[in-house]
């Protein structure tokens, strides 16, 4: 197990280095950071001086090395736009994104799994048709449109839920959470649904097809032949086996939840890292972009590791082999 984790860890570092390098090459083309850092009327000489101070005139490999070597020590540089250490800014913004991603993942799982199980067990029920229709909406319209429509209905027309921001947040040991206040929870609803709808559909469909396949397997037939209750058969034996692919996909999807958060955060002005990243792209704030990408890669690798560990917990076959 330890060897496995170490191997993973080494691979992760390589992955992240590659990500960083690709990103750095591409930043060249996103725009000129200096143009975005100064007013339009700033003189050419001042711009050139700024470029020099920022080290933007250094050769690309040098810039990359500088970035990586300080990133290794937890220093992601200073934001060109905000003049603040990027690490601090990520720290400020990360809770918002993680809470949103978590709540929408929970929403996707809590709605997707039961719906998937139901549609697999009662193939001809009216409710099944309804669930399938609803779930298809989640993948038939682009996220931003769903977000705007939700805002239109629940904020503008009904005036029940806020259209932007996180509401009031409470700071607990440096982690600002919106989960403890009423306005914070209300503010979470629409963005979480918007972000989670697509994943919910995915999970529902996955659970349904996996479940249908597993219900035909020999051990389910044997379980039924032993007279186990339908409850034990469906939710014990079948669902647990269904969970393996679901865990994998959900884990992998967490990465894309965080990426898709860029859109949701923009629509709902959610002060998370996705919004910060998009603004950084618009402003060519290279340190933020680099740190964000590195962090996404790290998160992904981390989630992958968790998924593998969960796998081991759920599936004893792997557990024994690794041990």
């Amino acid at each position: 197990m330890l060897a496995f984790i170490i191997k993973r860890f080494v691979q992760s570092i390589v992955v992240m280095l590659v990500v960083g390098l690709i990103a750095f090459v591409m930043f060249r083309f996103v725009g000129d950071p200096v143009d975005q850092m100064v007013g339009l009327e700033t003189s050419i000489e001042d711009r050139e001086r700024l470029r020099e101070t920022l080290g933007l005139n250094a050769p690309l490999p040098m810039q990359y090395w500088n970035f990586i070597s300080s990133a290794a020590m937890g220093d992601f540089g200073t934001s060109y736009q905000f003049k603040r250490p990027v690490a601090d800014m990520l720290g400020d913004r990360l809770p918002a994104t993680l809470e949103l991603a978590l709540v929408s993942a929970i929403f996707a799982l809590c709605a997707g799994i039961p719906m998937g199980v139901f549609t697999a067990l009662y193939k001809d029920s009216v409710l099944t048709k309804l669930f399938q229709a609803i779930s298809l909406v989640g993948i038939s319209l682009p996220t931003f449109l769903i977000g705007i429509l939700l805002i239109y209905v629940f904020s503008v027309q009904l005036q029940k839920l806020p259209s932007f921001g996180r509401g009031e947040v409470v700071d607990i040991a440096g982690w600002s959470t919106g989960l403890l206040t009423v306005s914070g929870l209300k503010a979470l609803i629409l963005p979480a649904i918007t972000l989670g709808l697509f994943q919910m559909t995915l999970i529902m469909r996955l659970v349904r097809s996996e479940m249908m396949e597993i219900l035909r397997s020999d051990f389910i037939k044997f379980a039924r032949a032993r007279g186990l209750t339908p409850r034990a058969v469906h939710f014990g034996h079948a669902l647990k086996n269904t969970m393996i692919p679901v865990i994998t996909i959900t884990g992998l999807q967490l990465g894309s939840i965080i990426a898709f958060a860029i859109i949701t955060e923009t629509v709902f002005q959610w002060p998370g890292i996705g919004l910060m990243f998009l603004q950084a792209v618009q402003d060519v704030d290279v340190p933020i972009m680099a740190a964000y990408l590195l962090m996404i890669a790290f998160l992904f690798v981390f989630i992958n590791l968790i998924v593998d560990i969960l796998y081991v917990v759920v599936d004893p076959r792997i557990r024994i082999e690794k041990a």
Binding site: Q11, V14, V15, V18, V19, I22, A23, M26, R28, F29, V30, G31, L136, V137, I139, S140, L141, P142, T143, F144, L145, I148, Y152, V156, R205, S209, M212, E213, R216, L252, G255, S256, A259, F260, I262, I263, T266, L278, V281, L293, I296, A297, L299, F300, V301, N304
Partner: protein, 313 residues
């Protein structure tokens, strides 16, 4: 006589199709038939857009700002010339939808083809070569997964513009979309093909092929491809729908097809700004078209998956 024989053969092909299980399951499902009809209509109308659409929205000289923002024809202020109204530039919404779905479908099809070719090739190579090559390809696949299409598009948009640049913003945007969507999809194909290749690699015929001097890779290509066609087709269908949606999403982030030759996604993004101001038709009709397309293609993909999966039949 030979003519007859040919027609006979053709007939028998048709007869075989009509007799096949897939056709049967197709005719049994009304939803699937409707989905197929909708898909067919959308593809046909996109293909024949220049013939059937009342206006040419891409001909800038024909646009007049004075005709802009007209509501649909049945509305009191509508103009019968513009059945579904006009957008902010005076483009006929109906014609633009027809032309736009052409572009959206082109983005979808090309990016899916790109992903499939890339994925199948890499999957075959990984499965066949094994060892370090396999490890590297699959690790790259892991990296790839942490970069969804959105991120790739944001990053390469500038790069492609700088490299392709030149006159044609439309073409460079198309390239950006195809590359970023294609790159985010290939992993699925690669994994499917790789596992199938791993199974085939050890079979006798591969060894035998090597003995008689044939390149085993070619042999495997011939044997693996038919085996994976089913899953690949299913993935491709669902990816097509996803690609069209992704294109729309990317246009929201400003890296989509530009407004002079709008795709469905661009139209929705533009219309999005007019939602609160009452000009609903600019978003609604393209949105409905997109939803219909994605829904229909998805339903077809679902059906195909079930029909091709012997376990579920």
């Amino acid at each position: 006589m030979s003519m007859n024989k040919e027609t006979d053969e053709k007939m028998s092909v048709i007869a075989r199709v009509l007799d096949s299980d897939i056709w049967y399951s197709f005719t049994r499902s009304k939803v699937t038939m409707v989905a197929a009809l909708v898909t067919f209509l959308i593809f046909a109308s996109a293909l024949f857009a220049p013939i059937i659409s009342p206006h040419d929205p891409f001909d800038l000289a024909s646009l007049s700002l004075m005709d802009s923002l007209l509501p649909p024809a049945w509305n009191a202020e509508g103009d019968p010339n513009y059945l579904l109204g006009t957008d902010d530039q005076g483009r006929d919404v109906l014609s633009t939808i027809l032309y736009g779905s052409r572009i959206s479908l082109a983005v979808g099809l090309v990016s899916v083809a790109f992903a499939a070719v890339l994925g199948i090739t890499l999957g075959l190579v990984a499965g066949y070569m094994g060892g370090r090559v396999d490890a590297i390809i699959m690790r790259v696949a892991d990296v790839q997964l942490s970069f969804p299409a959105i991120l790739i598009a944001l990053l390469i948009d500038g790069t492609v513009n700088a490299l392709v640049g030149g006159m044609d913003r439309e073409r460079s945007a198309f390239t950006v979309l195809v590359i970023s969507i294609g790159l985010s999809f290939w992993v699925q194909y690669a994994r499917t093909v790789r596992s199938s290749t791993l199974v085939e690699r050890n079979k006798e015929y591969v060894q035998a092929a090597r003995l008689i001097g044939l390149h085993p890779f070619l042999i495997m290509l011939r044997h693996v491809l038919p085996n994976v066609m089913g899953p690949v087709l299913v993935i491709a269908t669902i990816n097509l729908a996803l690609a069209v949606i992704t294109e729309a999403t990317l246009s929201f982030l400003g890296v989509g097809i530009p407004g002079t030759q709008p795709s469905l996604g661009t139209m929705i993004r533009t219309g999005n700004d007019f939602l609160f101001s009452g000009e609903w038709w600019i978003t609604f009709f393209p949105g409905a078209m997109l939803a219909a397309l994605v829904l229909a293609v998805n339903l077809l993909g679902d059906w195909l998956r079930d029909a091709l999966n012997p376990k579920l039949r």
